[in-house]
């Protein structure tokens, strides 16, 4: 009976109810959209980094500290004998880093040259064109960003200066054979890719690597004392932190929106008690307890949330569908240099998170609805029937 009465009252409230439902629905649509955006970005960024850079794990030379440029010159370590068969079978991809100077068009630029086996199949990096020829320049691969910075294109020849293992300068000519469209900026910005054997030859090194990329998780247990295992959790720690920071920053705006929606509910409830005093007195006279009346009003407020949830799914569907199929592109082709934003981001909707949001919103709405109506308990039936104001 309480439910029926509450429902009838909401319908009877007309435009006022519609406005309340509309406000909450707008907030819910925005919340779901934002949650989907962060979630989709995180999922896509991780997927792309796994496909292009991380695979199923990474062993990193203990001599290499990505945050210490001084360590880069000697950032390699010998590949242990136990690992070599996996390297030969292609299950582990060794990559060698070398800080270098490149001279595109007579200009001098610092770059990190990375050597990767041309025939590797573990990462999506298009390395197949890097196989060195007998004579002529060494084939090189760069990303679109690097091509823009260096003004280099396919077929261009430039000189690379790098130090060998003893510290002597070596200089070799490279020729761009491909410009890749990598979704992972760290593989592109300031980086030149060549065949591993060519880089080792230029540096007078054999069987060394800076990182070993693992095809299968089972290879994480391989013995490599001079390398440290980088787990998925460690590898994506920065990305997770960045998403969390941005999501928290964004949530301030949404807290404000939620506050305004709750204020609308609170206002409506407070006004309802003021305007419906005779009705409260009547219900009380007919035998309803104060608790039942309070529950009815609270349910009325909470039902706004239920209707808003339905409305947000119905009204928001075209929007959700559009972003799921067409994706979200940064306005004006802005490139943050962050993985996952190189192309329109197609939304994936995290159902558990969305359901949790709806439940939390329902509880919050119910609480805000109850706050003004709890005063009904103090209202005297006779005064209420008279339309008194002592409540």
């Amino acid at each position: 009976m309480i439910f029926k009465l509450a429902l009838r009252n909401i319908i009877g409230n007309g435009w006022r109810s519609l406005i309340n439902i509309g406000i909450i629905a707008a907030v819910l649509i925005s919340l779901i959209w934002m949650e989907a955006m962060w979630y989709s970005w995180l999922v896509l960024a991780k997927t792309q980094q796994k496909q292009w850079e991380f695979a199923s794990g990474m062993l990193r030379s203990k001599n290499y500290d990505p945050y210490d440029t001084f360590s880069w010159e000697k950032s390699y370590a010998p590949i242990p004998a136990e690992v070599l068969p996996h390297v030969e079978s292609g299950d582990i991809v060794p990559i060698l880093y070398a800080p270098s100077v490149i001279y595109p068009g007579g200009r001098q630029l610092s770059a990190m040259v990375k050597g990767i086996p041309a025939g590797q199949k573990v990462l999506e990096l298009p390395s197949s064109g890097l196989a060195p020829s007998e004579d002529g320049p060494i084939p090189a691969l760069i990303g679109k960003n690097m091509a823009r910075t260096t003004k280099l294109g396919i077929g261009d020849v430039f000189t690379l200066r790098v130090k060998d293992s003893a510290g002597a300068f070596n200089a070799v000519d490279l020729q761009i054979t491909d410009v890749m469209d990598s979704p992972v900026p760290s593989l592109d910005i300031g980086t030149v890719w060549v065949d591993l054997s060519a880089l080792r030859e230029a540096r007078l090194l054999t069987d060394v690597a800076t990182v070993l990329v693992l095809k299968e998780k089972s290879l994480q247990s391989v013995s490599a004392p001079q390398y440290e295992l980088i787990t998925e959790k460690e590898f994506f720690a920065d990305l997770n932190e960045m998403v969390m920071t941005k999501a928290v920053g964004q949530s301030v705006l949404f807290l404000l929106m939620i506050f305004l929606a709750m204020l609308a509910i609170f206002d409506t409830q407070a006004l309802a008690i003021f305007k419906r005093r005779k009705e409260i007195g009547m219900l009380s006279a007919l035998g309803m307890t104060k608790g039942q009346i309070t529950r009815m009003f609270t349910l009325e407020g909470a039902l706004y949330m239920v209707f808003a949830a339905i409305a947000s799914l119905v009204l928001g569907f075209p929007l959700f569908w559009y972003f799921a199929t067409k994706g979200f592109a940064l306005p004006g082709g802005v490139d943050f240099g962050v993985v996952g934003f190189d192309r329109p981001l197609k939304f994936v909707y995290p159902l558990p998170l969305i359901l949790l949001t709806l439940v939390l919103m329902f509880i919050l709405t119910a609480f805000v609805s109850w706050l003004p109506v709890r005063k009904i308990a103090a209202l005297k039936t006779v005064d209420a029937l008279k339309g008194g104001t002592n409540a």
Binding site: F70, Y103, F169, A171
Partner: protein
């Protein structure tokens, strides 16, 4: 008859062979010219950029091969910048931030004040005869001077340049032209010396042009306006405390 003729030809050629000095002795003589216990100099470095040139002036103090102190005096933008080299360590002091930074690792590859010289070039200071073995390639004329042409090959690891070709003024034992090569044999840098003057009993070039051959442009010119050798320099000059003074 033929044998006698051959013997005469060989004997006639002997004085020519005897005229070729030992390449190591040429290096020794070059080093002797460049070796001093200490020096003080006032220099100008003209850095030729793509669009314009700028001149950086400095006063420099050196002691042996390992200690070097420079203070930039002009232009106003660079005035007060100091550089201290102690052994294999190099510090730069920036008056703008009042901080000194040790230059090492990848930073050593960067150019000094945008010139064709890298910090690594500043770190190279040991004697040629200690680092390289020389072979005499012949004679050539450079800038109107009769020179020996020597090919230098690194005889120890850890040197930035694995080989070099130098042209040494026969009469004054001064390098007038130097080419520095990469391990692959690619020419990396050319250094031209000029305006050789006698200072304190030694011949010393007062003009040097450094040219990074992989870069376009005219290179960097280095003028020595004043130089004195073997003078007494306070030990405090070569301390980190001097950077902030």
């Amino acid at each position: 008859m033929n044998k006698i003729l051959l013997a005469i030809l060989i004997l006639a050629a002997l004085p020519l062979w005897a005229a070729d000095p030992d390449p190591a002795s040429i290096l020794k003589a070059v080093d002797a010219n460049l070796t001093f216990s200490s020096s003080y100099s006032v220099t100008r470095m003209v850095i030729n950029g793509r669009r314009s040139s700028r001149t950086v002036e400095s006063v420099n103090y050196a002691q042996g091969e390992d200690k070097f102190f420079t203070e930039y005096t002009a232009p106003p933008r660079d005035k007060g910048t100091k550089m201290l080299k102690l052994g294999d360590k190099l510090w730069i002091y920036d008056p703008g931030t009042d901080r000194s930074v040790q230059i090492s690792g990848n930073m050593l590859k960067q150019s000094v004040m945008g010139s064709d010289l890298s910090y690594e070039d500043f770190m190279e200071a040991s004697k040629l005869q200690d680092d390289y073995s020389a072979s005499l390639e012949g004679s050539a004329s450079y800038d109107g001077r009769d020179c020996w042409v020597l090919l230098l090959t690194a005889k120890k690891t850890g040197l930035a340049y694995s080989s070099a070709r130098i042209q040494v003024d026969k009469a004054r034992n001064v390098i007038l032209h130097e080419q520095l090569f990469a391990k692959s044999g690619k020419l990396l840098k050319t250094i031209r010396f000029g305006n050789v003057k006698k200072v304190g009993g030694r011949w010393y070039p007062h003009f040097v042009n450094f040219k990074d051959e992989l870069k376009s442009g005219k290179g960097t010119e280095y003028y020595v306006d004043e130089i004195r050798f073997d003078l007494s320099i306070p030990a405090a000059t070569f301390t980190k405390a001097m950077l902030k003074k």
